[in-house]
């Protein structure tokens, strides 16, 4: 077996360099479908979200959903691509029971978006760039529910039929499965930031096909490629690519050659199986869709979409560093998703201390959320609540230790910090006279230790601190206790 273990350069395996081109389908998060006004939703009873248009009934006609176009435009702008002022829909013809018209409305030689790049970062921190060829709009097909044991028929659910999709076609710039994984993560991040797609690959909102070939290190010409389909998770893509690259290298090393084909990844068995060879490939007979007029995007419309484009993850991370003075690594973590970045910024406005907010969000908050599998956007400790808590440390009302106790209670009950503090009587004692009074009592009760200290055995200082904290049930401001004790003992 050849493998990646121990290789110095990820992208070269036993003298072969993999070449990978990814085609990603993203379901657009519009309320309605691309060519009719049916709701676009996941998990509804079969065939309930349908109408004559998405059922492909004779005589029904498609009408383009403007929102779907805007979502595609957002993604094109977010990746630095060129929105085409005029693009054309085309029919892609093939027979399948979950494709009720017998053709899919897609775009062919005149897509809505050209060019663009995805900049992404490997786990090592190394930055990479993958160029995009095009982004085009199309409709999704329905779902075939193939017979389980004892069932006579395949059933078809057309709820998904007509869900808007964009296909993001990249150049074959990717050189390893790890790069593919990191590319997809970045793509998902941008899709989520722009609100274009949830990016949920497990639910099929994001689907990825990969063109894979290998070539001897140093050779410029690409090898014969295969297409791998049916990967259902990001890790699945990495595994499938590892499998296929290994297969191709072994094939070539044993004197064979790769044949152009389409393979289906079987996640359970961890193998990719031949679906069809080139000879069996479809002739889709694309031609311009006569039921739709050309898609014309005016300059004004494009500028409007550009104006409404949210801040993108890279720009946001940079701003976090410059505006909040946090480290780049922290900024990367806090901008991983738009929800997290939004949460953090809201915490900052209430906490007043961006660095403290960064620490609290990353360690305390994410710790709890990840452990509980919660969603940050709906988590019961809202950012204003966490910000308020952090502000109480800054003002000296709470010690850090006390704040953690309060936070813990907030994660259980979802109540506000103020209420919990009042109920538990957790107010920090920062009053000079109150603390001095207790110090005097403690010193009076331990004349031996006072003498020890004054004779130079200053290590008993900790004993006095402990006694004061004990007497105040931990509520005395530790900094003031230290200061006042020192003054008393030294003075």
């Amino acid at each position: 077996m050849v493998g990646y273990q121990g290789e110095e350069k990820l992208s070269v395996v036993n003298g072969f360099e993999p070449v990978i081109g990814l085609e990603v389908h993203a379901q657009l998060a519009t309320d309605t479908k691309i060519f009719c006004s049916c709701r676009s939703s996941y998990g509804e009873p079969p065939n309930t979200l349908t109408c004559p248009v998405c059922l492909g009934l004779p005589g029904a006609l498609p009408v383009l959903n403007k929102k779907a176009v805007e979502f595609a435009m957002r993604m094109i702008l977010a990746t630095g691509g060129q929105i085409q002022p005029r693009s054309v829909f085309a029919r892609k013809n093939y027979f399948y029971p979950d494709l009720p018209k017998g053709y899919q409305i897609s775009q062919f030689d005149k897509p809505v978006g050209l060019d663009g790049v995805i900049k992404y970062r490997l786990e090592s921190g190394e930055e990479k760039v993958c160029r995009l060829i095009r982004i085009h709009l199309e409709e999704d097909a329905g779902k075939s529910l193939h017979p389980e044991a004892g069932e006579a028929y395949t059933r078809v659910d057309l709820n998904r039929c007509g869900t808007p999709l964009i296909e993001i076609v990249a150049h074959a710039d990717i050189r390893s499965p790890q790069e593919a994984y990191a590319y997809l993560l970045k793509l998902k991040q941008i899709l989520q930031y722009t609100g274009v797609c949830t990016g949920d690959m497990e639910k099929g909102h994001l689907r990825c096909d990969a063109n894979v070939s290998v070539r001897p290190e140093g050779q410029e010409k690409f090898g014969t490629r295969t297409e791998v389909k049916n990967m259902n998770s990001f890790k699945g893509v990495e595994r499938a690519l590892n499998y296929e690259i290994t297969r191709q290298i072994e094939l070539i090393r044993s004197g064979g050659s790769v044949t152009q084909a389409t393979l289906l990844w079987d996640e359970k068995r961890g193998v990719a199986e031949m679906m069809r060879t080139k000879e069996e490939s479809h002739d889709y007979r694309y031609f311009p869709e006569p039921d739709l007029v050309n898609l014309v995007v005016s300059h004004d419309w494009m500028e409007e979409v550009r104006r409404n484009l949210p801040e993108l993850p890279d720009a946001r991370a940079e701003r976090f560093v410059s505006a909040y003075g946090i480290r780049e690594y922290d900024a990367q973590v806090l901008t991983a998703t738009r929800d997290l970045a939004d949460y953090y910024e809201e915490v900052v406005t209430h906490a007043g201390d961006p660095k403290a907010a960064s620490n609290w969000v990353q360690t305390e908050l994410l710790g709890v959320i990840n452990a509980a599998g919660e969603n940050i956007a709906t988590y019961k400790v809202r950012p204003n609540m966490l910000g308020e808590l952090i502000s109480k440390i800054g003002s000296g009302e709470l010690s850090g230790k006390m704040a953690k106790i309060v936070f813990e209670e907030m994660t259980v009950s979802g109540r506000k910090a103020g209420e919990i503090i009042k109920e538990k009587g957790l107010v920090q004692i920062s009053d000079d006279t109150a603390i001095l009074k207790i110090i005097d009592e403690i010193l009076a009760a331990s004349p031996d230790n006072v003498a020890k200290y004054r004779s130079g055995k200053t290590n008993v200082f900790g004993f006095f601190v402990g006694q004061v904290m004990k007497a105040t049930k931990g509520q005395a401001n530790p900094e003031m206790v230290n200061k006042l004790l020192k003054e008393k003992l030294d003075g």
Binding site: P62, V63, P97, K101, P290
Partner: protein
């Protein structure tokens, strides 16, 4: 009872409004004729009796209560069987849709019903509107009302025959390359193909989407203009329908200004029946006498029309008809075998010979390696034809020509010769490809009495000129 068969739509509405007759009586008479004379002609696939009588009663109630009534109140109308009408079979003349009952109304239907019209039946047609004689129907050929051994023309043969016979004053057919004008000519009635985008296609079962147009048929110009006014205009459900500010056609039929009319030499070349030519010449001299001027023009692309049409239309049809696969509705054969067998068996037994011929032709011209040579080239020539018309309409208001090269031919005469059949649409195809309006006017007849139509073609969305010239010829 009034002489229903001679009544125009306007007469019928007027008689109902003034309570000389009830809408129910009118509709019952129309249905009676459809069931007797219509059956003899084989003009109808379905009679929509239940809904028709309900609609008629609604009209009568409105009249009784003094409520305002629509401009087609109580007027019986027939629809070609490729227009979707809820709860009634929409067979498209095909075995494959023999059991398909649509759950929705075409926009045309919605607009007719909101003008208080009454839909009395669905008419026989060439299968999926592919044919020029109405012989390609799963339900058998339609007879020409005045010459029962002859064809009524096609593909809207049933609609043209039912109007000519007096069963309905108005009917709708659909045009892809002449399917209303040619039967109108053969049956001696008016048929007008609107500009592409003039009437919404939503609910019209597609043959060739880029030329398909729902088109009205009538026995007089005023009715034709009225029904077009009711049904034309932008429809948000059809992206290709055009937002055009249509004039009030029925009230603008009289015209004082004189027309400049082009005579295209290519339409009077070889293959034109001398009797048809004589009728067109008579029409020209009448109009000349009335002071209109004529100029000779040339449309050199005309002879490419049939060739272009038989690439573009089958290409689109091959995709449009892919949905008839036995999976969801209509006919299904041997569903217990492999999926591919089910597709094959269903389509092999569900489609007739002409439909199969065009699907194969269309699939071929779109195939990789042939696409550029056929489809792309045909699309370019089509664009040239469009430009050619545009150029000509800078100099003339109208173009005059025969509608069809011959009067109605015999049933069976051309059925085994597809090319001869295709050529019978040579004069109507160019306007369809160019997306411009054209009308067939019943003007004269052959020595044996067979009706002959004269065709006028106008520039895009100049239907008004067509109605006005038709009105002049009617008087």
């Amino acid at each position: 009872m009034l002489d229903y068969k001679k009544m125009s739509a306007t007469d019928i509405r007027e008689a109902i409004a003034t309570r000389k007759v009830t809408a129910v009586e009118i509709v019952q008479e129309s249905i009676r004729l459809a069931k007797t004379e219509g059956k003899e002609l084989n003009a109808f696939v379905t009679i929509c009796e239940d809904k028709a009588l309900t609609q008629a009663k609604v009209v009568d109630d409105k009249v009784k209560s003094g409520a305002p009534i629509g401009s087609l109140a109580g007027v019986p109308i027939a629809l070609k069987d490729n227009i979707s009408y809820t709860d009634y079979l929409c067979s498209c003349g095909s075995h494959i849709l023999d059991k398909y009952v649509p759950p929705y109304d075409a926009t045309l239907v919605t607009r007719l019903l909101s003008a208080d019209a009454v839909i009395i039946g669905k008419t026989n047609m060439d299968e999926f509107a592919m044919g020029s004689s109405n012989e390609n129907s799963y339900y058998g050929p339609v007879k020409n009302p005045r010459f029962p051994d002859r064809v009524p023309g096609g593909s809207s043969g049933g609609s043209a025959a039912s109007v000519a016979q007096g069963i309905v004053p108005l009917a709708f057919g659909s045009e892809t390359g002449g399917s209303v004008r040619q039967p109108a000519s053969f049956c001696g009635v008016y048929g007008m193909k609107p500009s592409y985008g003039g009437i919404s296609r939503y609910g019209l079962v597609a043959f060739a989407s880029s030329t398909d147009q729902i088109s009205p048929i009538a026995r007089n110009v005023a009715d034709l203009a009225t029904v077009f006014k009711v049904t034309c205009g932008r429809d948000p459900r059809d992206s290709t329908s055009v937002a055009f500010d249509h004039p009030d056609y029925p009230n603008r039929l009289e015209r004082k200004e004189k027309f400049t009319i082009g005579i295209p030499r290519e339409y009077f070349a070889e293959g034109l029946d001398p009797e048809v030519n004589a009728v067109v010449q008579k029409c020209i001299s009448e109009l000349k006498k009335a002071g209109h001027s004529f100029i000779d023009i040339s449309l050199p692309m005309t002879d490419k029309g049939v060739a272009v049409y038989y690439i573009v239309a089958p290409a689109e049809a091959s995709a449009n008809l892919a949905r008839f696969d036995g999976v969801k509705y209509g006919l299904r054969k041997s569903g217990d075998k492999e999926l591919a067998d089910m597709y094959g068996d269903t389509r092999a037994s569900g489609f007739g010979a002409e439909v199969k011929r065009r699907i194969m032709l269309g699939t071929y011209v779109l195939s990789s390696g042939y696409y550029d040579a056929y489809y792309i080239k045909a699309s370019k020539v089509r664009e040239l034809m469009r430009c050619e018309f545009e150029e000509v309409f800078r100099a003339v208001d109208l173009i005059i020509s025969p509608t069809a090269p011959t009067p109605a031919f015999r049933i069976g005469e051309k059925i085994d010769d597809p090319l001869a059949m295709y050529l019978s649409d040579a004069y109507t195809i160019p306007a369809s490809l160019a997306g411009i309006p054209a009308i067939s006017i019943p003007y004269g007849s052959a020595s044996d009495g067979r009706p002959i139509g004269v065709q006028f073609t106008a520039g895009g969305f100049n239907e008004l000129a067509l109605f006005q010239v038709a009105k002049m010829m009617e008087q």
